[in-house]
Symmetry: C2
Subunit: 454 residues, 2 copies
């Protein structure tokens, strides 16, 4: 096991999905989701602990049933640009959708973040699970899966081409000769694909990490292929060691099939970590936190989300779970399918499904610092995770992870003790991608040096 654990921290304000009442916790200011100082505190604490990255999730469609953090939040790159100015070393990964962005615009924004942070930017590529986003961008309906993932792949390809517009030595900025630009090192993009046409070049140079790091989040077959083909990191759910081990093996096999080194894909399940003085105290805290999550009514409303915010209030609560999968076709289809399959398999009513969603889900990472460290180590050694994207329930719990769990992992040689590099790629142990035009030129030069007969 050569690599240490990678740790991201998912910064939210008033909670995540399913957390409607988290803001009632006295530690959480009601306006945390839109307060830069709140995020700054968490990011600086994460950086002081040497964590690899902060991670911002996103959505662009709300209903009054959306949980508080979704109702009122900052656009991820705006937030990360501000955090770039208040941190020095930690990676900055933001979620942005390929379904409702133009590649030139988005590639430019990530390149800019990458430069102002001196090589710390990452892009979590999503295709927008919330189908209603379409209505905010002039469409009657969200794209189907083939189009969503087709756009995503092409969007990444174009972005990478744009990010190579300038070779690394394109700007001599030589005061003695007065030469600012070497025009031979500036390249247009000339992309003409199925979904996008982009002439280029991009008007910004590369950062010390070459290109922003790519994360991917989406569990379907299409999503896994996208991640295996392009991503440096994968964000996924933490189900169980066997399930996540199978997921990781699958991703690595796909990466190999795409001709990639599977070591260059860092897989991070999301982990809710709760630390107590005893395992029991920690479980009690988990229960107490859960009571702040959602009521039956709130869970009933939010259950609609994977099904394109379908309204479940119209159904008899005590009848069998309704036949609604069709509504998930262009939304969170993978997640919706697993809900429906579970209900069918177990013969559950709608009420039972909602109760399951409103009931405490036990996280594998709850207990004393040693218990949590043991669980983390077990997942890591089993090949179920290369690290974790941590959900922070509240600052005091984040402190306990930093002050109590991390030292145990460090003592076991599993966690880095401070930063060894300055860029996100260095934190993740990933190579800097060579500029394609430089590489081409070098290959051509090598070929030219070969005797013609060889």
């Amino acid at each position: 096991m050569p690599r240490h654990l990678t740790f991201g921290v998912i910064l939210t304000g008033t909670g995540g999905p399913g957390e409607h009442n988290r803001w009632l916790d006295p530690e959480i200011p009601g306006d945390a989701s839109v307060d830069l100082d709140w995020y700054t505190e968490q990011a600086q604490a994460a950086e002081a602990a040497g964590l690899d990255l902060v991670f911002i999730v996103d959505s662009q469609f709300i209903t009054p049933d959306s949980p508080p953090h979704y109702l009122n939040r900052l656009e991820p790159l705006t937030l990360l640009s501000a955090l770039a100015a208040r941190t020095e070393r930690i990676g900055l990964v933001g979620t942005a959708t390929t379904s409702y962005n133009s590649p030139y615009n988005l590639a430019r924004r990530f390149a800019s973040l990458d430069l102002i942070s001196r090589g710390r930017a990452g892009w979590n590529v999503v295709t927008s699970g919330d189908a209603g986003t379409a209505g905010n961008y002039g469409l009657d309906e969200h794209y189907d899966y083939a189009t969503r993932y087709g756009r995503a792949a092409e969007h990444i390809e174009v972005s990478r081409a744009l990010w190579d517009s300038y070779e690394d030595d394109a700007f001599p900025r030589d005061r003695s000769t007065g030469v600012f630009l070497d025009p031979d090192k500036l390249h247009t993009t000339d992309h003409r694909g199925e979904h996008f046409r982009v002439a280029g070049p991009l008007n910004i140079e590369r950062s010390p990490q070459g290109q922003p790091v790519i994360f991917q989040a989406g569990d379907s077959d299409e999503g896994r292929d996208l991640g295996a083909k392009y991503a440096d990191g994968i964000f996924t759910h933490a189900a169980s060691i066997p399930a996540n081990r199978a997921f990781a093996d699958d991703i690595r096999a796909r990466a190999r099939a795409f001709g990639r080194n599977p070591e260059h894909v860092v897989i991070l399940p999301g982990a809710k970590i709760i630390v107590g003085d005893s395992d029991e105290e920690a479980r009690d805290e988990e229960l107490a936190q859960h009571r702040l999550s959602n009521t039956f009514e709130q869970a009933l409303g939010e259950l609609g989300r994977p099904f394109g915010w379908h309204d479940f209030r119209q159904y008899d609560l005590d009848a069998p779970f309704p036949d609604v999968l069709v509504h998930a076709e262009r939304s969170f289809r993978t997640q919706a399918t697993s809900i429906v399959e579970h209900a069918t398999r177990e013969g559950l009513t709608l009420r039972q499904v909602v109760e399951l969603h409103a009931a405490p889900r036990r996280s594998p990472f709850v207990g004393t610092a040693t218990t949590v460290a043991d669980a983390i180590e077990e997942w890591f050694r089993a090949g179920a995770a290369d690290g974790f994207n941590i959900y922070v329930s509240k600052p005091s719990q984040f402190r306990r992870f930093i002050d109590e769990v991390l030292p145990v992992l460090r003592a076991r040689g599993l966690a880095r003790d401070g930063y060894t590099g300055t860029t996100l790629r260095e934190h993740l142990g990933l190579p800097v991608p060579a500029n394609r035009h430089t590489a081409e030129r070098d290959t051509a030069a090598v070929a030219a040096r070969q005797p013609a007969s060889v």
Copy 2:
């Protein structure tokens, strides 16, 4: 003259248009345009001096003939978000085009900047003068003027509607009742226009200034109407007192015709300010700076810009200025027209036009601190300007403006001494726009209280 002078500072790194060799000045780091710390120093100096705003211009199309700052620069909102984290009071105005952005995305980004800066965001609305931008967004050709300005107006309308998604009291966040959101104060947008369809709502609350401030830059008839109808501020060229007075009168007349209070449109010509110990020394400095601007070759290349980067190298330099206005039709038409008209009127050759562009243009704001202050006062009192957007040639010159010119203006009661408010609207003396839904509700309530017979 009730209002004081408004001062913006245009932050660039290695210079602006026509400044190809500014980076040779030892005060300008070669990578200033992409260095957050460079911008931070200027912004913090501007804030310490109590200036109203920093201003970032933009373009998304380059050729090897583009000046250094254009070749390699940060995306404006990324930069401003970072500066928001490093400043407290100064306004943050960023240029963004309505031709190649989606309203939901852009409105969200400005709203986020507005919140993280606690009410200091401004949007300089442009339609993209560089026609080549179209190729970076999948179009063969840039929009014609009617479409460009039609989109601009509709984009602003939708943005303002999105910014009113939440009424100011939409979030009770009442811990005693557990009520986070008052759903009656959340409003969809339901916009269906000629260019955009946007369902809304936007997932972000309003800032202390209600909505981001709107600037406009574009001098054509269409541009003036757009500014007069929607803008809180206008960015324009500084030509001469009579020309700018006529421009200002025209804008104010149009604003009145749109039913607006013309006092609520702040007109800021761009001003190059150079201060010396004597008027002569300042003129010498202007000349020295000009020598760093461009060579004949560079001026010949950049002359193509208003004409859609038309290549003038193909013409006989000593023949009459060629008939090329058609190429400006979808680019900087107003600017190109004035170049052509001037050449025709004076019977100039191409070489003479280029020489004029490469020759020192004398700024009206060059001299001792008193000379500069006199000129500023004269423009202000003549109604030719409500203030200025200052081009900073280099930090030492910016310091002289701050340390020498501003105190003179303050002593004359023309410039503010420090901030009196915290938001950009307060700096500019502009009212906070009432949320449209609150206003509607209030009007309805008043109507309901009237006796039916009145």
